[in-house]
C-alpha cells in the first residue's frame, strides 16, 4: 500500500497522563489500510521551526476516516502537538514502513510494550482480537510508574495484560523484563514452544528483551525508532547497522528504519 500526503484536522486531544495524550485526527481516509507497526510522518501548521515532521505509529484506525496517535511530549515537536487545539491542521504522510507479522492462529504472541511504545502493540492486540486470535496473545506492559501505564482498560478489553512499574506502583516491580521472564518460564514449563515476542519501547528496553528472547529461543520482532527526516527513504538519515549475521549484511551494512522497518527481526539489526 503506497503512502499519501494529505492534511488532517485535529478533532480532539485526550489527556491520559503526565504529558501523555492521544490525538484524534479526521480526514485520514488514506490511512484506512494501515497495519499495526506502520507509522505516519506528521507536522503541525507551525511555520519553519521545528522544520522536520515527527514519526508516530498509529494507535488505531477508527471509522469515518479518523485515526489516533499516542504521544508523549518529549521535545519541541511533541510539545507543540500537546498544545494543539481542536481544528488544528496537520500535514500527514502515510502509511509508511513495514508492519508486525499479522496475528496468526499458529503462533502464541507476547506483545511487549514500554511506555508510549504501547501504540502499535495495542493496535496489534486489536487486530488479533478482530481475527479471533485474542487467546493467542498477551500484552506485557511496563512503565516508570502507574500514571505512565496509560490505556490499561483498552489493553485488558482486548487480551490478558501483565504490568510492571519501576517504582512498584502497579504490577511486578522493576523492568518489563521481569513479568516477561516469568511468562516465558511459565510457558516453557507447559512444554509449549516458545512464544513470539513483538516489542516496542525505548531502545535499552528492547535490547534487554532481545537478550531474554535469545535465552528462551523465542523469535523476536522489534519496532525501532530512528532519527527520521523524511520517513520515505530519501534522506538516508535513519540508518541502523545490520547485525553481522543478518541476510546480506556484507553488501548492505545498513538498514533504513523508515523503509526496511520500523519493524525488524531483532537479530537482523543493531541499535
Amino acid at each position: 500500500m503506497s503512502a499519501s500526503a494529505f492534511t488532517a484536522t485535529l478533532i480532539e486531544r485526550i489527556e491520559l497522563g503526565p504529558h501523555v495524550f492521544v490525538l484524534r485526527l479526521g480526514g485520514c481516509e488514506a490511512l484506512a489500510g494501515t497495519q499495526p507497526g506502520q507509522f505516519v510522518m506528521m507536522r503541525g501548521d507551525w511555520g519553519r521551526d521545528p522544520l522536520l515532521p515527527r514519526a508516530f505509529s498509529l494507535l488505531a484506525v477508527l471509522p469515518g476516516g479518523e485515526v489516533t496517535v499516542l504521544i508523549k511530549a518529549a521535545g519541541r515537536g511533541t510539545a507543540l502537538c500537546e498544545r494543539a487545539a481542536p481544528g488544528a491542521r496537520f500535514s500527514v504522510l502515510g502509511p509508511l514502513g513495514r508492519a508486525f507479522p499479522a496475528p496468526s492462529a499458529d503462533r502464541h504472541d507476547l506483545l511487549v510494550a514500554g511506555g508510549v511504545g504501547l501504540a502499535p502493540i495495542l493496535m496489534q492486540a486489536d487486530a488479533a482480537a478482530l481475527a479471533g486470535h485474542a487467546a493467542r496473545c498477551e500484552i506485557v506492559y511496563g512503565a516508570r510508574t502507574v500514571a505512565d501505564l496509560v490505556l490499561r482498560d483498552a489493553c485488558e478489553a482486548r487480551t490478558r495484560t501483565h504490568y510492571s512499574t519501576d517504582d512498584g506502583s502497579l504490577g511486578t516491580p522493576g523492568r518489563v523484563t521481569e513479568p516477561l521472564a516469568a511468562r516465558l518460564r511459565a510457558i516453557a514449563a507447559t512444554g509449549a514452544p516458545p512464544p513470539t515476542l513483538l516489542v516496542c519501547g525505548p531502545n535499552p528496553m528492547m535490547a534487554a528483551v532481545r537478550t531474554l528472547a535469545r535465552e528462551h529461543g523465542a523469535p523476536c520482532w522489534v519496532s525501532l525508532e530512528g532519527e527520521m527526516a523524511c520517513g520515505y527513504g530519501v534522506c538516508l538519515g535513519c540508518a541502523v547497522a545490520a547485525a553481522p549475521g543478518a541476510p546480506g549484511a556484507a553488501e548492505r551494512p545498513y538498514r533504513y528504519v523508515c523503509k526496511d522497518g520500523p519493524v525488524f527481526p531483532a537479530e537482523h539489526v543493531e541499535w
Binding site: 522536520l52 532519527e227 527513504g233 534522506c235
Partner: protein
C-alpha cells in the same frame, strides 16, 4: 518586467535557459534530498518540475556513515550521511531508465557526482557520460560536487582551493569533450570558504557550464546534558531555512562579479517567494532541498507559488526576475513587521 499596461499577465512564461539547456520552469530539486526521483512518484508530479538532481554518485557504491547521521537544529538540520549511493553501475542499471522517462517528459535530469580523489572524479564523469550515451541518453547534465574531502590531501575539501578546483573541473570537462558527450558540466560549490567569487571564477576558467550554489554549511550540534555531539561524525552539513541568507549572499556576490557562467541557487527554499529572491539575486534557476523531507510535494508547491507570485507582481516572464534586484538608494521597506 512589468507588463506595459500594468495588468496581470494572462499566463506567466516560466521557461528559463540555463547553461545551454532550456528548462520548462526554474524549479528543480537538490541532490540528496530527492533520492533518484522515483521514490517521489505518487507524492507529486515529478515531471511537472523544471528538473531534478540525483543523489551524488561515486565510481563505486558507498554505504555511508554510522548513525546518528542527522539532527534537527533551529530552522534546519545537520546531516552526515557519508555520500552513500548506488555507484555508477547501480545508477545506470537501476535508476537511469526512470530518469530517461522524465527527460522525455521535458524535465531536466542532472546527475550529481563526486570522487574521493582526483582520478575518481574524472573516472566518474567518464563512466557516467559513456554509460548514459550507450543507453541512449536520458540525462542533461552532470553536477560535480566539489565539497568532498580529498583523501589524498588530509580530507581537505577539493572545493576550497581555487587552483585545485580549476584543474579538477578542466580534467572532467576534457574527459566529457574527448568522449563527445553532450552533457553539460555544472559545478556545485561549497560555502565553506572566504572568497566564493575566486572559486566561481576558477571553475568557470576550468570550463564549467554553470555554478550551483550552495552546498551545506559545515556545522555541529551538542547535547549538553549528555555532553555528546549530536551526530556520529561530530561535524556535518547544515541545511534548511537557517542557511538561506548565506546562500542568497553568495549567489548575489557571484552574480555581481559577472562570473561568465550562470548560477543555480540553493539553500533553504521553502516557498515561491524564496525562489523569487534567489532569481532576483542572480540565479537563473533554483533547487529545493531539505523542504522535500518535511513535505514531499514541496517543489511542486514552490513552483505553483512562484507562478502566483509572478502573476501578482505582474511579471510576464519569470526570466525577467533573474538578477533584477534593485539596490538603489531608497530606504528598504521595514522587515521586522
Amino acid at each position: 518586467m512589468v507588463s506595459p499596461d500594468g495588468a496581470a499577465p494572462a499566463a506567466v512564461d516560466l521557461g528559463v535557459s540555463y547553461a545551454g539547456m532550456s528548462l520548462k520552469n526554474p524549479i528543480l530539486t537538490a541532490s540528496g534530498t530527492f533520492g533518484y526521483g522515483q521514490e517521489l512518484e505518487g507524492l507529486l508530479d515529478v515531471a511537472s518540475l523544471g528538473g531534478l538532481c540525483t543523489k551524488g554518485i561515486s565510481p563505486a557504491r558507498r554505504s555511508g556513515n554510522p548513525s546518528p547521521r542527522i539532527c534537527e537544529t533551529a530552522s534546519g538540520m545537520i546531516n552526515s550521511i557519508g555520500l552513500e549511493n548506488v555507484g555508477v553501475d547501480g545508477f545506470l542499471d537501476a535508476k537511469l531508465p526512470y530518469l530517461a522517462g522524465l527527460t522525455r517528459a521535458g524535465s531536466s535530469v542532472w546527475v550529481n557526482f563526486f570522487g574521493t580523489d582526483f582520478d575518481g572524479y574524472v573516472e566518474c564523469a567518464r563512466r557516467l557520460a559513456e554509460g548514459v550515451a550507450a543507453r541512449g541518453g536520458g540525462v542533461s547534465a552532470l553536477e560535480m560536487n566539489i565539497s568532498c574531502p580529498n583523501v589524498h590531501a588530509g580530507g581537505l575539501e577539493f572545493g576550497t582551493d581555487p587552483a585545485v578546483a580549476r584543474k579538477l573541473v578542466r580534467a572532467c570537462k576534457d574527459t566529457l569533450d574527448a568522449a563527445g558527450s553532450p552533457l553539460r558540466l555544472l559545478v556545485k560549490l561549497t560555502p565553506n570558504i572566504t572568497d566564493v567569487v575566486a572559486l566561481a571564477r576558477a571553475v568557470a576558467d576550468g570550463g564549467a557550464d554553470g555554478i550551483t550554489l550552495i552546498n551545506t554549511l559545515s556545522a555541529m550540534a551538542i547535547d549538553a546534558r549528555k555532553r555528546r555531539p549530536r551526530i556520529a561524525t561530530i561535524f556535518g552539513g547544515l541545511s534548511g531555512p537557517a542557511i538561506k541568507p548565506v546562500a542568497l549572499r553568495m549567489v548575489y556576490q557571484v552574480h555581481r562579479a559577472r562570473v561568465p557562467i550562470p548560477i543555480c541557487g540553493i539553500g533553504g527554499i521553502t516557498s515561491g517567494e524564496d525562489a523569487a529572491e534567489f532569481l532576483l539575486a542572480g540565479a537563473s534557476c533554483v533547487q529545493v532541498g531539505t523542504q522535500s523531507f518535511a513535505e514531499p510535494g514541496a517543489a511542486a508547491r514552490v513552483l505553483a507559488e512562484l507562478t502566483a507570485f509572478c502573476r501578482e507582481t505582474r511579471v510576464a516572464r519569470v526570466a525577467d526576475l533573474i538578477g533584477a534586484l534593485d539596490t538603489g538608494d531608497t530606504r528598504p521597506p521595514a522587515c521586522i513587521t
